[in-house]
Subunit: 340 residues, 2 copies
Amino acid sequence: MPVLLPPRASDSFLDLALAGERAQATRLTLDLFAGGFPLPVLITDLLGAVQREVGARWHRAEIGVAEEHLVTGVSQATLGALAATVPHRPGRGTVVLACAEGDWHSLPAQLFAESLRAVGQGVLYLGASTPSEDVSRLLERRRPDALLVTCNLALSYPGVAGLADAAHRHGVPVLAGGRALNPARAVALGADAWAADVTSAANLLRSWRRTPPEVDPRPVELEAAAAALDARAPELGGVAYEALADRFPPMADYDRRQRARTYEDLVYIVRFLAAARLVDDEEGFTTFATWLEDLLVARGVPAAALVAGLEVLAPPVRDIDERSGALALSAVERIGCRAA
Amino acid sequence: MPVLLPPRASDSFLDLALAGERAQATRLTLDLFAGGFPLPVLITDLLGAVQREVGARWHRAEIGVAEEHLVTGVSQATLGALAATVPHRPGRGTVVLACAEGDWHSLPAQLFAESLRAVGQGVLYLGASTPSEDVSRLLERRRPDALLVTCNLALSYPGVAGLADAAHRHGVPVLAGGRALNPARAVALGADAWAADVTSAANLLRSWRRTPPEVDPRPVELEAAAAALDARAPELGGVAYEALADRFPPMADYDRRQRARTYEDLVYIVRFLAAARLVDDEEGFTTFATWLEDLLVARGVPAAALVAGLEVLAPPVRDIDERSGALALSAVERIGCRAA
């Protein structure tokens, strides 16, 4: 059984998807499957690689959101075609797999669901942004072995905690995964365990079927100041936006779209500060600030604009959460060093 | 070629999907296709019928959002499997198909895209909530024959107008469709035409390829008061929420979830008022109010609560847009008549 994809298989898929040649992209994938490549390899090293490359190109401003959507649609259709090709065997046990409320990036969850099914795990896949109370009612009725939550963006941390609480109310253990989590962050948000990949998730679920873990029915306690910061992000973004116009003169020439984008970025900065504090992991904000700096620079916005934004945000943020205010200022220093 | 599906095919699909038997639901569909049912019939009378039934059951509070997501995931995967089974023929021309920003219900657009491809139309499918400015850049680069916009919820009207403007800036004509539109509404939002179904859409696109329509590059002029009402809906919902607590005593016993839901409903009412005024079609609000009344009653909320909500909303709404205020009060009278 071949395990290494031909060089440039994912490049070919991506070129076809961007050209709108959906049928050919799917055909390429089904041919690889027919040629002996196992489903998990095609999911991780082909479709997964394509999505990572799309994200990277968007980050470098080489493609827009519309192209991202175009490729995602092709990948989703291909995944459906691929799944129907795999011989069906009834899955062992049942887990529910959901994205947190507000998380609309369902493809990683969908890839994960198919990978689990491929190793014989029964999965009820709910997909994008499902409200916690609705998941709660489903768990009450279906009594699955576990709730799986994927989280690829720190903005969804409060939603992950909400899903964990919903599961625990019904005695259902929670396994979390995804790029925005690690073991400590998952536990801070109420998950009972974290899995890096499908193999470890499947193994853990097997052990949970043998010996269900103890589940604490109490809601996870999130840092109150961080939760308040997240809730008040739109307001703080507005305050900072006004102050930024004084601090950063080029804003006077911004058009409507640039002004809207600037306000959005300020709100995101506050929400990523809150997210880092929710999981008590300041590293998360540092990573975000570097990512945002690169993203802005690729779009012609100088690092000085981000520095000014962080400086005007720091005082009102500090009034709600002192450590978040300090975190914003430490990012300023780091960006200053990089720029110098 | 059989054209009438076996009785209860869609019931069987839905039962399997709700049970999480994704593979079997897909198999059932692929077997019907192998048995000679054409793709458009399977899309409209099977997958489309399943989604309509899911919507109806959710409206009657028989299933929750989580079950809706479960079924949508199965339908999406099945659609991908089905599309890969259809022999590929290169499509004529290219159209871009998108949902308006804020519209996350992509499955109807996806079903429409596959139906168009089945009749030989080339489609670049963008799917859920794509920002207008990103669609604009894609249109500039790809120069399609047309932009197709699907709209199934009146809340997306401003987004439809935004997409129409984006297309017209690049001389691309706009064809709109979906349950929330009709010819007059589509034109009011800037579309150049409206199509009731795939056949009429394909015919129109064919005629546009022969004779491209004249496109007016100027942005569509939306009723300013209606746009203001939509923008201020969260604020008006907050004002009305405070007033409602006095007017409707049972609210004192509402839990946190019920209070959040009540506020959300008030905001939705304002946004549907604005939507009806944006397309100058008050009928749209009447339909919504009846639908909301039934939805609330199915969840144990008496019609009196909706009447009280409309009454407290009317004065602040009237301050922004007199006709919307009158529309809210006329709904009160109608609900009163129905309840009596």
